[in-house]
Amino acid sequence: MEWEVVIGLEIHAQLATKSKIFSGASTAYGADANTQACAVDLGLPGVLPVFNEEALRMAVKFGLAIDAEIGKRSVFDRKNYFYPDSPKGYQTTQLHHPIVGMGHIDIELDNGSSKRINVTRAHLEEDAGKSVHEGFGGMSGIDLNRAGTPLVEIVSEPELRSAKEASAYFRKMHSIVTYLGICDGDLSQGSMRCDCNVSLRPKGQQEFGTRTEIKNVNSFRNVERAIDVEIERQMDVLEDGGTITQETRLYDADKNETRSMRSKEVENDYRYFPCPDLLPIIIDDNYIEAVRSTLPELPDAKRKRFIESHQLSANDAAVLASSRTLADYFEIAAQAANDYQLAANWVQGDVSATLNRLEIDISELPVNAEQLGRILQLIKDNTLNNGGAKEVFNALVALGEAGKADSTVEKVDALVDSMGLKQVSDTGAIEAIVADVLANNPKLVEGYLNTPVEKRGKAMGPFIGLTRKAAKGVNPQVVMEVLKKKLEELG
């Protein structure tokens, strides 16, 4: 039978507020256990939540970025369940009246076309703490530093039809929230996590099949792998005439398999009701418009502009626009050099290679955009050849690695001088060097003159090498012209 895959994603993105959603404690990652949990986060008797309006501003910003309805009256509800790292015995979330209603984003498919995916809703809620199972002699420890970190949970419509589409959607959401600056997007620290709802149905059938939910997948690659392996599993069950159990599953990346976590029958009745400690959030058009005025250029718009204004290829534009920091870096360097294609080549070449090698973010690269821009300028005015430019770039990276990073543009020029990389383009000077080379290598000259005319192009190679060795940084273009002229004069 031919099966159709139906996927919907729930993405949790931690909002980049300084303090928590209902308390003044810091949200910074990596502190000692329970040092960033105040009385509210610990759920002590008598404490009360106070809503952090910065989380509201960020959620509204997100809603506007995906062209969604903004909830002018949103309400916090209590979702009741007992769990050791849920300090109050309930999670404060939004059930019936979320801050963000129906919206949509477009994802790019492999065949170059794009597909619109509707976003059902996005709501504000608080993150839970963490249970720590090692180091307590068989018992568990609880770290509540993360408890109360603001989240937006972004729920898609079940409109994704393959693991690839799901991963493209996750990437696009990542790109949008990081563009907006409302989430740091650090997947390894759990800043964005994804629950994948997967089901199959016979092609052509309207009704959805029974779905499973794969919880807490935390990388683009694992979203794709987890869904693919779950599709395979479900297909095997269905092809064998079995039925799918509605349940929550975990993805084990090491074994590349999903396994059952708990089935729906034993799941909690969450007994939602409006939180009486928090007032409904009421916002008006003025508020919404004020937030709208702070929206940056979003990835789709930027990609389009790169193609239309800078004549980049669709592929170059997509890569460069995928991250706001990368795009900003590219644009600053390109403007300085007044050459967008040259900058695009460099950012996708040496810059990306260095980022991958050092496993760092563009913001941590020891060569900043202004410095790259200066290097590109020097290529354009023939001061540097391509090899020299790479040497300067690598020298700056090496300084950074040695902890001696210098972020000034002047440093580029200083390195060009001290490393003797300045290209000699003065024809007179090059003529003198070439004359020396020819005079000192009579045998080579003789060999050259004995070479048939049609093969002389290749025989010129050794002279080029010798000339460049004799004078570092000579402009190879000029060397070629001078050599040709001189050798022709000889016969």
């Binding site: 009385a39 610990l42 759920g43 002590l44 008797p45 008598g46 404490v47 009360l48 939540p49 106070v50 809503f51 209590r78 009741n80 007992f82 050791p84 300090p87 109050k88 015995g89 309930y90 568990s140 609880i142 009745d269 007994r271 939602y272 009701f273 009486p276 400690d277 928090l278 007032l279």
Partner: protein, 484 residues
């Protein structure tokens, strides 16, 4: 000394009649000698109180005294007090030393008041007889085999027995007014949102409100001056100016209209009770007020609505008591669910468990619409009754309770009979209005309370009415016969 009111002590301290250390020591001695009769205190903080008193005396000597500097008082054990056991009357919190002060507690500390300790209460404020406390029942100073009312039974008994001149209290369905009526003292529950709930352990968040129990309306005004106000730490507290509640105490009440809701003067109310309350209203007429019968047609729905909303909210509010981070933890838990189940099973008493069960049921999938949602809709109708009534009258009066204090043990096996105790007080919490109970008579040597219900943020008027009544009557000065 122990018969003096807060206002008198404040005047004496200002006049240098005695020091704060002296008055504090005299109350501490009295608590030590007499409280075994009443069991009104859970914790007496003698050392801390004397240190606060000495600091207050020094402050006064330096010329920095406020009206509250050095005046003794005590807190219901529902308010978190930094470094002091805050048990909420429960085994669950019998080891909980709060690491912070409730806003109400901090306000009194900042005003220079001296806290003598923490007062007994029904477990988690759930009860109308103060028999559900883990620390034992409180006894009514008027007749020791009678209940003091609840949940603020410790506050009311301590004030009635002259162990403290004034106490904080809380009221979710009548927990200030009913014990005040039973013990012959004055109690006010302010408008919802008037007093911060930060650090006040939640029972039912949308109904809970902190207030006071004192002997006179004037003392209540003095306490409210310290307690009331907006608190950025409580999202439900109101950003509304706080008047000086003592400023209008002496205003004439001539020309005011008193509404008497016919639903509160039912035939089954004992004729003795009726008579006492009618007599009190006649006093007001003598003072120039006029009386008008009104109707609050949804009154009969108040108790069922309350017993859906309050347990629902409490079922979630009490979930944090799970044995993980603080409070009672069972021995040798086998796994996390065993830890939750046994810690809670052992830590909570019967009435608390009953309400958690009721609330959990009311919020369950499939029942939410029929119970919680419906109750919230009816709550709005009850509130509208009052809004309509206050278009015609300035204040509403009724008995505080259907009968005077009952005997200990009489209603413990019949929860519904106990719930009906709050029949005249509960609707006020559902509407969020301010209300007060003042002593207005006696039946069989037990006090009777008159309930005064005000419009939103009209506490000043209630205090004015209470004070004027207490200028022409002496019910508030009566003391239990066998009181030393």
């Amino acid at each position: 000394m122990h018969n003096k009111t807060i206002a008198q002590i404040a005047r004496d301290l200002a006049a240098g009649e005695y020091s704060s250390v002296e008055v504090t020591q005299s109350y501490l001695d009295r608590i030590q000698q007499l409280d075994h009769n009443y069991n009104s205190f859970i914790t007496v903080t003698a050392e801390q109180a004397l240190a606060q008193a000495a600091a207050a005396d020094a402050m006064r000597a330096a010329g920095n005294a406020t009206p509250w500097t050095g005046v003794p008082m005590a807190h219901k054990d529902i308010f978190c007090t930094n470094g002091v056991l805050t048990s909420c009357g429960s085994r669950m919190l019998s080891n909980f030393v709060a690491p912070y002060d409730a806003t109400v507690v901090a306000n009194f500390n900042n005003a220079g008041a001296v806290s003598l300790g923490k007062l007994n209460m029904d477990e988690f404020a759930m009860g109308s007889s103060n028999e559900s406390s883990f620390y034992g029942a409180v006894h009514n100073p008027w007749q020791l085999d009678h209940v003091p009312g609840g949940s603020s039974g410790g506050s009311a008994a301590a004030v009635a027995a002259r162990l403290v001149p004034g106490a904080t209290a809380t009221d979710t369905g009548g927990s200030i007014r009913q014990p005040a009526a039973f013990c012959g003292v004055t109690g006010i529950k302010p408008t919802y949102g008037r007093v911060s709930r930060w650090g006040m352990i939640a029972f039912a968040s949308s109904l809970d409100q902190g207030g006071t129990i004192t002997r006179t309306a004037e003392d209540s005004a003095m306490m409210l001056n310290v307690m009331a106000g907006f608190d950025p730490k409580d999202s439900t507290s109101m950003q509304q100016d706080v008047p000086d509640y003592t400023a209008n105490l002496n205003d004439s009440i001539a020309g005011l209209t008193i509404g008497l809701p016919k639903e509160y003067f039912r035939d089954d109310l004992s004729s003795n009770m009726q008579q006492q309350v009618r007599n009190a209203i006649a006093e007001y007429e003598k003072l120039g007020a006029t009386v008008k019968e009104i109707s609050l047609p949804n009154t009969h729905l108040a108790i069922p609505v309350y017993y859906v909303i309050a347990p629902s909210e409490c079922s979630a509010n009490l979930s944090r008591m799970d044995g993980v981070r603080f409070g009672h933890r069972c021995d040798d838990p086998q796994d996390v669910n065993d830890l939750f189940k046994r810690s809670r099973g052992e830590g909570f008493g019967e009435e608390v468990k009953r309400r958690i069960m009721v609330g959990t049921y009311a919020l369950s999938a499939g029942f939410y619409d029929a119970y919680y949602k419906k109750a919230q809709q009816v709550r709005r109708l009850i509130k509208n009754d009052f809004v309509e009534a206050f278009k015609q009258v300035d204040v509403i009066m009724s008995p505080t309770t259907p009968s005077p204090a009952f005997k200990a043990g009489e209603k413990t096996s019949d929860p519904v009979a106990m719930y009906l105790e709050d029949i005249f007080t509960i609707a006020i919490n559902l509407a969020g209005l301010p209300a007060m109970s003042i002593p207005c008579g006696q039946v069989d040597n037990l006090p009777v309370g008159l309930q005064l219900i005000g419009n939103y943020f009209d506490e000043s008027r209630l205090l004015n009415l209470g004070h004027q009544f207490q200028q022409v009557t002496d019910w508030h000065q009566q003391t239990p016969a066998d009181l030393v």
